[in-house]
């Protein structure tokens, strides 16, 4: 028999759910631009392909999705601003189903970029929303 002694420390409460950890790991290893938000809508990660499109590294972009939307000034094809609640990720959160949209953003470098976005809510169980991820890519020039 052996004995152990020690003092139990409480685990930190900010630990991420395994589905978010796996989503982040997946995004970090893909060549497609992906951003990840938590259940409160806070941006928790975007990958290097997303950095190229958004024009800034993730390390400098710790913000809520509302602040993110404000930063990149999303507009529709007619140039009208898209309210936060109509962005694909907001729709996905609201409906609990994937959402798709077209939008134009202004990158930090000032370039206008036409994007297609697919947003997915992430559920651990049917009633447990953990966050969401948005996959996005630049639209090809129309002929």
């Amino acid at each position: 028999m052996c004995t152990v002694a020690g003092v139990t420390e409480p685990a930190p409460s900010s630990h991420r759910h395994i589905a978010l950890i796996l989503a982040k790991d997946l995004a970090a290893n893909l060549a497609t631009a992906i951003l990840l938000v938590d259940a409160d809508g806070n941006l928790v990660f975007f990958n290097e392909p997303a950095e190229r499109i958004l024009g800034r590294p993730y390390a400098e972009a710790q913000m809520s999705s509302a602040e993110l939307a404000k930063t990149f000034k999303p507009v529709d094809e007619a140039g009208e601003p898209i309210p936060l609640q109509d962005l694909p990720l907001s729709q996905a959160f609201r409906s609990g189903t994937p959402s798709h949209g077209h939008l134009r953003i202004e990158s930090v470098d000032g370039r206008k970029r036409d994007l297609e976005v697919v947003a997915l809510p992430l559920f651990a169980r049917a009633d447990q929303l953990l966050g969401g991820l948005a996959v996005f890519w630049e639209r090809a020039e129309e002929a």
Binding site: M1, A11, H15
Partner: protein, 279 residues
């Protein structure tokens, strides 16, 4: 609190002279909180001998915490003597699945043609529970379950009792695609379960040389378990889920390697028959 290993082998029971020191039975640990209640971690082949030892002395209520439902963690259940005693109130806890109940998944094994008797036919009074999101009490112990990285729904368990803590992460690959020496703890699978644990029982199935060909199988290498123990700040690390292809000598080499890589606490191999006293 006390804990005793009844099986520390991974993947497949491996009896024989090469495994006689650390044991060949698959995962099963008996945990006795201060109030004397009986909590069992996994029901690999080691649970048969535990059931035999309980003969006539089994408490009315027994709780089995399943980390996941791979066979090496489940296959002993049908041979656990209290399952065949109508006086037993057997609670089985396991990882939730988004699609199937715990009963459905266990019944897939405990039913013909894989097993002669159906789960619904066993004499013990069974209650099956998805491991809840919030901590819960079993006897005097507080149990916390968290999903962890392995193949298929899997949870790690933390058992806290009388100021001591045991973390059980038997099949776990926290280093899958991340560098544990640089990543923030909040993004590490299993960290919340293991943080500051007095005893961390953790998967150490592979050498660093073996791991690259097995990445994604859901298990850890010597380096990964050392990095994880450092990150978690565990006080004692017990290497678990021994590979069936590793005999006693090879296991001792693995253990020596982990000691080289991490000197933050005591490192040992989990050994069948060993008892840990947390007092």
């Amino acid at each position: 609190m006390r804990a005793r290993f009844w099986g520390s082998r991974g993947s497949l029971a491996t009896p024989g002279p090469e495994t006689v020191k650390y044991g060949g039975n698959t995962s099963c640990i008996e945990v006795r909180p201060e109030d004397g209640s009986l909590v069992i971690l996994d029901s690999g082949t080691g649970i048969r001998a535990l059931g035999a030892q309980l003969d006539g002395m089994a408490p009315k209520r027994i709780d089995i915490l399943l980390s996941h439902l791979h066979l090496d963690h489940l296959e002993g259940l049908g041979f656990f003597a209290p399952l065949w005693d109508p006086g037993t109130e057997l609670h089985i806890w396991g990882p939730p699945s988004p699609t199937r109940s715990l009963s459905d998944r266990i019944s897939q094994y405990l039913s013909p043609p894989l097993f002669p008797v159906r789960l619904a036919e066993v004499p013990a009074r069974l209650q099956l529970h998805d491991a809840p999101d919030e901590p819960w009490m079993l006897g005097s112990a507080t149990i916390t379950a968290r999903p962890i990285i392995h193949r298929g729904p899997t949870v790690g368990y933390r058992i806290e009792d009388a100021g001591r803590s045991l973390a059980y992460l038997t099949d776990h690959e926290p280093a899958l695609s991340v560098d544990l020496s640089t990543v923030a703890p909040e993004w590490v699978s299993g960290f919340e379960v293991a943080a500051g644990a007095d005893v961390l029982i953790h998967d150490c199935q592979y050498t660093e040389e073996e791991y690259p060909d097995r990445a994604g199988f859901g298990h850890s290498s010597t380096k990964d378990v050392a990095d994880f123990a450092r990150l978690a700040g565990a006080r004692r690390l017990l290497l678990f889920h021994h590979d069936p292809n590793h005999g006693d000598d090879e296991l001792e080499s693995l253990c020596a390697r982990v000691r080289e890589l991490w000197d933050g606490g005591e490192v040992d191999l989990a050994r069948e028959g060993e008892e840990i006293d947390f007092s």
